[in-house]
């Protein structure tokens, strides 16, 4: 078996009396597209935050490409090539789309000289290609804050690609995007996975999207891992249906 791209092992996290994650374990292999589903408040975003180092975990360990990242901070983990997007969509609102893209290029060396370096023309070309890939090419000189919410989501996705990550954690990439655009986005996520070799772990509420996209699905409920398997298996798992619909 090849080494897992991401291995989350028995991670727990509580906020005061609320147990957000209880002994959650999951594995993502290189090149996979994995879905993470669960009702609201089931601890999906908390798990993302734990993985990317936004807050410390109470117990458990997280390995990225075989490397222990449990105690690393957000920017360090990002520089290793594990990047996340945000549920609320975060872009640099007062900067143009091109500027958003330029500053998203990875700067792994971090010397004083590298901090002041100009952006070579190749960066702009790559940024334009990616903006075209997500369909924002004609908006490239607009301020990102002037884009519609859906367009900002696409920009955030393009920014993530600009960074050249090994793996992306996407927090509800299709939330707030109109249905016709969703198909385009699914297609682009697939292409990013197939053509750029980026492993994806996707939180998604839209069942049609996640069933279409993911090869494997984990389902969380009340902070615990409820089910795991292929989309159709998870979809038909009575426990999952119960967690979502609240049948007792």
């Amino acid at each position: 078996m090849t080494e897992a791209m991401l291995a989350v092992d028995n991670v727990s996290k509580r906020f005061g009396g609320v147990i957000a994650n209880a002994d959650v374990s999951l594995q993502v292999s290189p090149g996979e597209i994995v879905g993470l589903i669960g009702p609201n408040g089931s601890g999906k975003t908390t798990l993302f935050n734990s993985i990317v180092g936004f807050h410390p975990v109470d117990s458990g360990s997280i390995l990225f490409q075989g490397r222990e990242i449990t105690a690393l901070r957000v920017p360090q983990i990002a520089r290793l090539g594990l990047l996340r997007t945000f549920q609320q969509t975060r872009i640099y609102a007062k900067m143009t789309c091109m500027e958003n893209m330029r500053i998203s290029t990875a700067n792994r060396e971090g010397s004083l000289r590298a901090m002041f370096r100009r952006f070579p023309p190749a960066v702009d070309e790559h940024a334009e290609e990616l903006l075209e890939f997500v369909g924002l090419y004609s908006k490239r000189f607009l301020r990102a804050g002037d884009l519609s919410f859906g367009q900002q989501k696409l920009l955030e996705f393009a920014m993530a690609l600009m960074n050249g990550p090994r793996m992306l954690l996407l927090d509800e990439p299709t939330a707030g995007i109109n249905p016709t655009l969703i198909n385009g986005l699914i297609d682009r996520l697939r292409r990013a996975n197939a053509e750029l070799g980026i492993t994806l772990l996707v939180i998604e509420h839209n069942m049609r999207v996640v069933m279409n996209l993911a090869e494997r699905i984990y389902c969380l409920a009340h902070g615990e891992l409820l089910a795991e398997g292929r989309p159709e298996e998870v979809q038909n798992d009575p426990r999952v249906v119960e967690a979502y619909l609240g049948v007792h």
Binding site: V52, R73, V74, P75, A78, R79, L83, R84, F86, R90, I91, Y92, A93, K94, M95, T96, E99, R102, I103, S104, A106, N107, R108, G110, L112, A114, M115, F116, R117, R118, F119, E125, E128, E129, E132, V134, G135, L136, Y137, S138, K139, R140, F141, L142, R143, D146, G150, Q151, L154, M159, N163, L181, G184
Partner: protein
């Protein structure tokens, strides 16, 4: 980064006006020198306040530090510092031309370096604070620095310190310092223009727009923030050294750590011109300095009231500043436009 036509015209106009001003109106050399100092104030404040979104009310600390350090470096090698300051200006150490100019150069440099070190040390601590907390903390720093300086006998304590006498002929002193201030403003402007064009500029803009996002994208935010403050501190340190020598007398709270005047003005000028833009602070400083001189001349006695009124008017009607207002109303002039047609691969640009 090549300047466009508008910018080229502005450069030429400033160069001509900057060189001609003290020659045409020699009586106003000091006022003109202060104009350039104001430009330096506004530009250096804007690095954090405008470009990075961290409102600092403590930048005057670096200015005051530079001023004291420069004066000490100028005096200490030639006489006993404690005796010199306790004589409060009655002791003439009679520096030669060489001693004076070398001392001034060394003083400005050492002052700048000390300011940078202090910025790095303070910055690594308080730049972790965000928003209002950072602003309040820096406000405290400015006040504390003045009080501390007023308590150190070696630098004259509350009765201040006199800078060495200029050795040249009468009248040449004003022109000399004018050109130094002009040169400093030009260097500050060109340096910032250059660093804003690269990764540094976009990184601090990113921190301003969304610091959590910047971290999530792997940007070394703490390092960028600290370096940004060090850049401000460096130039403010030099400015302090120059102003100390122009004024001739360093009062700890009125001249060096003058939070209520310089400290507030630097914020105001940047906001007036348009914070977060390169030319905004320059424009703001020019407008502010001119208005202020006019108030002092024509509304004497009421000048502070008029200044206060001006501040209120700016904040209420031009919260974005002059350039910010222009950008809001004419976004195409600032390059914010929809650019359809040609795409990199030649395909029809896709509609998202």
């Amino acid at each position: 980064m090549k300047p466009d036509r508008t910018e080229l015209v502005a450069f030429l106009a400033i160069a001509v006006a900057g060189i001609a001003a003290p020659l045409v109106l020699p009586g106003y050399s000091t006022q003109f020198a202060f104009l350039w100092i104001m430009v330096v104030f506004a530009l250096t404040w804007d690095v954090l306040g405008g470009q990075m979104g961290y409102n600092s009310f403590g930048n005057v600390v670096f200015f005051g530090l530079g001023m004291y350090v420069c004066a000490v470096v100028q005096v200490a090698p030639f006489t006993d510092l404690a005796e010199y300051t306790s004589a409060s200006g009655t002791q003439d150490i009679g520096l030669t031309h060489g001693q004076y100019f070398l001392g001034l150069a060394a003083g400005c440099l050492v002052g700048a370096v000390v300011a940078v070190i202090v910025a790095a040390v303070l910055g690594s601590g308080i730049l972790a604070l965000r928003g209002h907390y950072f602003a309040i903390c820096t406000l405290g720093l400015g006040i504390a620095a003045g009080e501390i300086a007023a308590g150190i006998d070696l630098i004259g304590a509350g009765s201040g310190m006199v800078t060495p006498l200029y050795p040249g002929e009468i009248g040449s002193r004003e022109r000399f310092f004018y050109f130094l201030c002009f040169a400093l403003a030009v260097v500050v402007f060109l340096t910032l223009r250059s660093v804003y064009a690269g990764r540094f500029g976009l990184a601090i803009n990113a921190i301003r727009d969304d610091e959590d996002k910047a971290e999530a994208m792997g940007i070394r935010t703490t390092r960028y923030k600290t370096v940004a403050w060090c850049i401000s501190a460096f130039f403010l340190g030099i400015a302090g050294g120059l102003v100390g020598n122009i004024v001739g007398f360093i009062d700890p709270t009125e001249v060096a750590f003058a939070g209520a005047t310089y400290g507030v003005w630097m914020v105001l000028m940047a906001i007036l011109g348009g914070k977060g833009t390169l030319w905004g602070p320059v424009l703001g400083a020019a407008v502010f300095h001119a208005t202020q001189e006019l108030f002092w001349t024509y509304l004497f006695g009421w000048q502070r009231v008029a200044l206060g009124l001006l501040i209120v008017l700016i904040v209420v009607f031009f919260p974005q500043g002059i350039l910010g207002w222009l950008r809001e109303h004419y976004p195409e002039r600032f390059g914010h436009r929809i650019a359809p047609a040609e795409s990199p691969s030649g395909e029809e640009a896709q509609r998202p």
